[in-house]
Subunit: 126 residues, 2 copies
């Protein structure tokens, strides 16, 4: 957890918290040589339009770098995590871990007393 935040939930208000962007950045995090647009599309199960939109947002935040090259006269788009993106993402994961641990501890504390929970909390059928 970064010392920047005294409330870990604040650290979640980052570009990485959107589920599809989390999938994209996690995939990039494991690939030093970057991933092509098509590899990312397949890995994250996204449409061209959705992937483009998220990549644009991540690029504008400085988290990724997009390179367009030609391979045998065909255009290829390769996406890399920047050093800054990697650092921010690790900071985000640390905050997430802290939040997850807090929540899991609360869940365990409350579950140690199930009869009382049941008497107080009636399920709401939506």
């Amino acid at each position: 957890m970064s010392a920047k935040y005294d409330n870990p939930y604040v650290a979640l208000k980052q570009i990485f918290h959107e589920p599809n962007r989390l999938a994209i950045v996690s995939a990039l995090c494991g690939s030093i040589d970057g991933l092509t647009f098509n590899e990312l599309k397949e890995e994250c199960k996204l449409t061209d339009g959705n992937l483009s939109r998220h990549l644009k947002a991540l690029e504008e935040a400085g988290a990724i770098k997009i390179e367009k090259t030609f391979v045998r006269a065909k255009p290829r788009t390769t996406v890399f995590l920047t050093d800054q993106g990697r650092e921010s993402f690790i900071e985000y994961l640390q905050a997430l871990e802290q939040v997850l641990r807090k929540a899991a501890e609360s869940a365990v504390i409350a579950e140690k007393d199930p009869p009382r929970i049941l008497s107080w909390i009636k399920p709401v059928r939506a």
Copy 2:
């Protein structure tokens, strides 16, 4: 991880993924007797308007129950997690834990520094 999802990122598209709602539900999860509006406001560092808005969304999703009573002629609002809310929240935490582990493992592969990063990951006991 619930068998409902083959992609853990899909499970994050839940009402709990918004950071303020995550703070609210984590707080409620640890309190068998529920929390008053003012306790939640203080715990989650939210304004009246923001807390009301998130509580409404959580109530509509069936995750919480809101009780209005009078204590010494003063109105008191108490908020409880429902059984359904608790179940869904635990499912969400399990998905989050899986996503976090995946991301941290990717980070480890790329950084070749397993001891430090793997220490973030603690199993969630639900």
